[in-house]
Subunit: 559 residues, 2 copies
C-alpha cells in the first residue's frame, strides 16, 4: 500500500460525508429494482445481439422504495477494479461501494484488484476494509489499488479471470472505467453467463474526457473536477495576460477523442478563441484554414491595440483535421513499409527526404509546410506499434509557429503592424487526480453505493446510473442501464468490434449551440472569467455547482 503524509486539506476533507440520493439513504434493504422494457443497442442491433446473446436486450432498471431485506441475508464478496486513466473520485466509488455492501450486511466483503484488470488475471488483490478506506475518502487519485490498461479479451485471459473470481468466491465484480473498459466489462459479463457462472458484472462510468454519456448517463465522473482545475489555471493565465497585455497564450487541454473538456473550460473562462475538434471535422477544415482563422483574430485585435489574447486547443485537434489525419495514417504506413531502408539512413534530414518521396504529393506538400520541430515529432515519436504518437504532438506550438510565419508575410505586405509574442501551455495530468469537487465526491459515492445495490440484486451487464444531476444530490435518480444498450459496431485496428458509442461534441447540441452564440463577443470584448480554485467549504454557490455543459444540456439558460 502506498504511504503518504496527509495534507491538512486531506485530513479536513476526509471528514466530509457525501450526501446520498434519498432512494439509497436507508440502505439496500429498502430499495427494490423495477424492471423497464426490453432494450436494444443504439445501432447495429443484430450484430450486437449476436455477440452478446445473454446480455443483449436486458430491461433498464430503476430503483423504487420497498422491502428488499432478502438480498441482504447472505454475505457476499465483491471485487472492484479501476481501469484506464485516473479521474477524480475513483476512491469515493470504492467508498460508496464498501458502505453500501456493509450497510446491507456487516459480513459482506469488498476486495480491490491491484493495478487494473491485470490484477484479476494475475489474482492480485487486497481486502478493502473500512480502516484501509479511511485515509482515501474524498481524495483524488487511484493510488489505493492503482489502475491499468489491460483488456480481458483473449480466451486465456477470460478463463483466468473466471477461475480467479470463482476461486475467491466472488459474487460480483465492479469495473470502474471509460467506454472501452465498460465494453470490456460487458464482454466479461457475457462470458461468465455463457459459462454458467453466476457472478454479476457492473460498470461505473469514469473519464475526465466527458465522452462517456448518453440519454441514460448524464456525465462520467471526474469531468467536473478536472475541468474545474483546468479552468482555475486558464483563468489565472487570463488574469496574467490581462495584466501584462503583451502575450498570446495557447493552451492545449487533455481530451483526444472529443473536445468536451475544452468546451467546458471555455464556458468557465470565456477565452478569445476556442477550437472544437468536432467543428473542424464537420467543416472539413485544413490546417491552413485553422491557422488563418486565428491569424484573422490576432490581426483584428492588434488593430484595436490588443496584442494579447488566449486560445484553447483540444489535445486531439490534429486528428480532427482531415488532411492531418490522412498524413498521419500515410506516415504510419510508409514508416512501417520502409523500416529497413530508413534504419540505414543516419540523419533525420535524410529520413525525412526519403519518406517525403513515398507520400502522395498532396501529403508531402503538407508535411513540408509544417514547422521543423513538428515534422520531427511526426517522424520520431512512435509508439511500440510503430504508430505516430498523436498525443505527444505539441499542437499549440505547431499553431504558434505557423501563425508566426503567416503574420510575418502579412507584416511584409503592410497588412499587420502588431506584435505577436506567444506562450504555450499543456494541461492534462494536473487534473486527473485532483481532490474531487463536492459534485464528484457525491456523484462517485452514489455511483459506488448504487453499484452495490445492483450487485446485491444480481444485475449483470449493467452500468451504474445516477441521473437528474443538476438537482441536489438528495434528488438524484438511481438505477442501472444495460451496457449493450449503449453499443454499436466500430472499426478498430481493422476489425469490426462492438463498443460503447463515444459521445462527441454534437454541433446541434445545446452546449455547442451556446458557444456558437457567445464566442464572437469573447473574441474581441475581453469578457474573461476567473473561476479560481475548487472550494470544499463555504457558500453552496461556490462549492456545489456542477458543469456548464450539464446545466445547458438540462435546458438551463447561461449568460
Amino acid at each position: 500500500m502506498p504511504k503518504c503524509a496527509c495534507s491538512e486539506l486531506q485530513q479536513e476533507r476526509g471528514k466530509f460525508q457525501p450526501v446520498l440520493p434519498s432512494i439509497l439513504k436507508k440502505g439496500p434493504a429498502f430499495v427494490k429494482p423495477k424492471l423497464g422494457k426490453a432494450t436494444k443497442s443504439v445501432a447495429d442491433q443484430a450484430t450486437v445481439k449476436k455477440i452478446f446473446p445473454n446480455t443483449y436486450g436486458l430491461p433498464a432498471v430503476s430503483f423504487v422504495k420497498g422491502n428488499n431485506a432478502a438480498v441482504c441475508k447472505k454475505a457476499v464478496r465483491v471485487g472492484v477494479v479501476l481501469s484506464g486513466g485516473q479521474a477524480p473520485g475513483g476512491h469515493n466509488v470504492i467508498g460508496g461501494l464498501l458502505d453500501g455492501l456493509k450497510k446491507a450486511n456487516a459480513k459482506n466483503k469488498l476486495f480491490g484488484f491491484l493495478g487494473g484488470p491485470s490484477g484479476i488475471v494475475d489474482n492480485k488483490f487486497v481486502e478493502i476494509t473500512p480502516a484501509l478506506m479511511k485515509d482515501y475518502r474524498n481524495t483524488g487519485g487511484f493510488d489505493l489499488i492503482q489502475s491499468g490498461r489491460t483488456k480481458i479479451e483473449t480466451p486465456e485471459q477470460l478463463a483466468a479471470a473466471k477461475n480467479n473470481l470463482l476461486k475467491n468466491k466472488m459474487d460480483a465484480l465492479v469495473v470502474v472505467g471509460g467506454d472501452d473498459s465498460n465494453t470490456n466489462a460487458c464482454v466479461i459479463a457475457e462470458y461468465l453467463k455463457q459459462q454458467g457462472v453466476d457472478i454479476s458484472v457492473i460498470g461505473v462510468p469514469k473519464t475526465i474526457d466527458g465522452d462517456l454519456k448518453n440519454e441514460h448517463i448524464e456525465t462520467s465522473f471526474g469531468f467536473d473536477t478536472a475541468t474545474k482545475i483546468y479552468a482555475e489555471l486558464v483563468g489565472n493565465i487570463e488574469r496574467d495576460m490581462n495584466s501584462a497585455r503583451k502575450y498570446w497564450h495557447f493552451v492545449r487541454l487533455m481530451g483526444r477523442s472529443a473536445s468536451h473538456i475544452t468546451l467546458e473550460v471555455a464556458f468557465k473562462t470565456h477565452p478569445n478563441a476556442v477550437l472544437i475538434g468536432e467543428e473542424v471535422l464537420a467543416k472539413k477544415m485544413t490546417l491552413g484554414q485553422v491557422v488563418n482563422q486565428l491569424v484573422d483574430l490576432i490581426v483584428k485585435r492588434a488593430k484595436a491595440g490588443k496584442n494579447y489574447g488566449i486560445v484553447l486547443v483540444p489535445e486531439g485537434l490534429i486528428e480532427f483535421i482531415p488532411e492531418m489525419k490522412e498524413l498521419i495514417s500515410a506516415l504510419n504506413d510508409a514508416l512501417a513499409d520502409h523500416e529497413a531502408a530508413l534504419a540505414k539512413l543516419s540523419s533525420l534530414a535524410e529520413k525525412k527526404e526519403f519518406i517525403l518521396e513515398k507520400l502522395p504529393k498532396k501529403l508531402a506538400d503538407l508535411m513540408k509546410s509544417l514547422p521543423a520541430g513538428i515534422a520531427s515529432q511526426l517522424m520520431l515519436d512512435r509508439d511500440p506499434h510503430g504508430n505516430v504518437q498523436v498525443s505527444l504532438i505539441e499542437t499549440e506550438k505547431l499553431l504558434v509557429e505557423m501563425i508566426k510565419t503567416r503574420l510575418a508575410e502579412l507584416k511584409k505586405a503592410g497588412k499587420y503592424t502588431g506584435k505577436f509574442s506567444a506562450i504555450t501551455h499543456f494541461f492534462g495530468y494536473e487534473g486527473r487526480c485532483g481532490v474531487p469537487s463536492t459534485f464528484d465526491a457525491n456523484y462517485t459515492y452514489a455511483l459506488g453505493y448504487n453499484a452495490a445495490v445492483l450487485a446485491l440484486n444480481k444485475c449483470t451487464g449493467y452500468l451504474s446510473s445516477v441521473k437528474n444531476l443538476t438537482k441536489k444530490s438528495q434528488d438524484w435518480v438511481c438505477g442501472g442501464v444495460p451496457l449493450t444498450m449503449m453499443m454499436n459496431i466500430e472499426r478498430r485496428k481493422g476489425k469490426e468490434k462492438p463498443v460503447i458509442k463515444k459521445a462527441l461534441v454534437e454541433l446541434k447540441g445545446k452546449p455547442f449551440m451556446h458557444l456558437a452564440k457567445v464566442r464572437a463577443a469573447w473574441a474581441t470584448e475581453d469578457l474573461f472569467v476567473f473561476p479560481g480554485p475548487i472550494q470544499f467549504f463555504g457558500p453552496a454557490v461556490v462549492t456545489d455547482i456542477t458543469t456548464v455543459t450539464l446545466q445547458l444540456e438540462a435546458g438551463k439558460k447561461i449568460k
Copy 2:
C-alpha cells in the same frame, strides 16, 4: 478599464474583510512613528551613501499607539504604481492603501498610474475610487491598473516623473515591486529630495520569487499564494504518478535568480528529488554531475521496482551550473562578434558548426554534449539585446534527454534494467495571478494600509514593513525600513550599480538545512503530500497557514 464577468468565487471572496494588525486597526490618527537609530547599507556603505546622500542612513521606523490626528488634517493625493511581474495580492495593496487614506481623511484621493512606471512618465492614471476598487478586492492579477517593466532612470524620465507628480499635486508615490523596482523607488525618492520636492516615495515588497527578504522583510507578497498553486499542481501530478506508477515527471518551476519557490513547493509535496540552484553553484557541479545524480536515483528506484518518480527543477538551474553559465556567456559574445558571418550561413547545422569553432574547446565539447533541441535553443532564442534567453531554455527536457542517453549506456552495460518514461511540465504564469490566499490577502492589505500611514507621516525612501508573520495577523508588527539599508553594489551589464541585495537560498539557513535532513527519505520512501487547492472558507488549519519556509525561519519544527 478591463471588463470581466465575475465568477461565483470572485463574488463571494469579494466580501472578505482582511484582518488588520491591531496597531493599524483604529486608523492613521491613532498611530505614531517611532524612529530607531540611523541605519547603514548591508555592504558598500561609502558608495551607497555617495549615490543616495539624502536617503542614506535614515532611521528605521516602527509604529506605536498615540494621537496623530495632525497628519490626517490636510487632504492628500497619493499615486500608486505596480511594477514588474504580477504577484497575487497586488489589488489588495491598493485596497489597503485606499482604505488607510480614506480612514485618515475622507477627502484623501488615490490615483493609479497605468501600465507600470511608464504611466508616471507619460502621465497616464486613473482615480481609484471605492466604487472602482469594489470588484477588485481580494482578487489576483494587476489588471486594475496593469503593470510594466520601465525603470525611471534617465534624467529625462526622472524630470518627467517629477513634473507629472507636481502637476497632479501628488503628496506621495507608492511603488509596488521587487528588488529592482524598489531600488528604482529609492532612486526616485533621492532625486525628488535632491530637487527639493516634498513628495514621499514608499516601496512595497512584491515578488512570487521570494528573493526580496532580509531581517526586516520576512517575505515578499505573492510567494505564499504562488507556491500554494504550484504545490496543488505538483501534488496532483504526484498522486497521478503514484496511481499510474509508470512515469517520471520533471517539473520546472518559475524562479530564475533564486530557488525559494522550488524549495517551498518541495516542502509542501515531498518529491523524490529537488534541485536547488544555490547548492549546485556552491558545489560547483557540472551538468554531467547533476544528470548523474538523478540517474543514480532512477537506477536505485528501478531496483526497488519503482519506475516512477518526480523531480522539481528551478527555472534558473542552468545559470547556477558554472560551466553552463560560462557557455551561455561565451555564446552571447561569439554570436555578437560574428553576427555578419552567421547571417550568411543558411542552415542551423552550419551556424552551429561555425560557432563551435569560435568557442574554447572545453565549452565546445559541452555544447556538443547537449541534446540537439537545446543546442538549437541556445543558438536561436535570443532577446532583443542578442543574448541567449535563459528563461526559454526547457531545462527539464534537457535533463530528460541527457538522462535517457546515460540510462541507455547503463542498460547496454547491464547495470540498469528498468523502464524510463518521462513527462515534463513548466509552471509559472499559472501562479502569478491566482486569487490571493488568506495570508496574502491579509498581508497585502496590511502592507498597503501601512504604506498609507508611512506616506501620511512624510516618510520617504522607505519600504513598507509588516513583520511577525507566522503569528495571527492581529499580532503583526508594522513599520518602515529605509530602502538604502538593504542595498549593496553589484555589477549589472558591465556597470557598478546600487541594488537591493537579492536573497538567495542560504545553504546554512534553516529551510535548506531542513531539506538536507529529510530529502533522503523522500527519494526512496514515497512520502508524497497532496496539498490540494487553496481554500478560502472552512477550518483555519486549511485557510490560514503560511509557507513552510517562513515557519522554519521562525524556528518552528516541521515534520
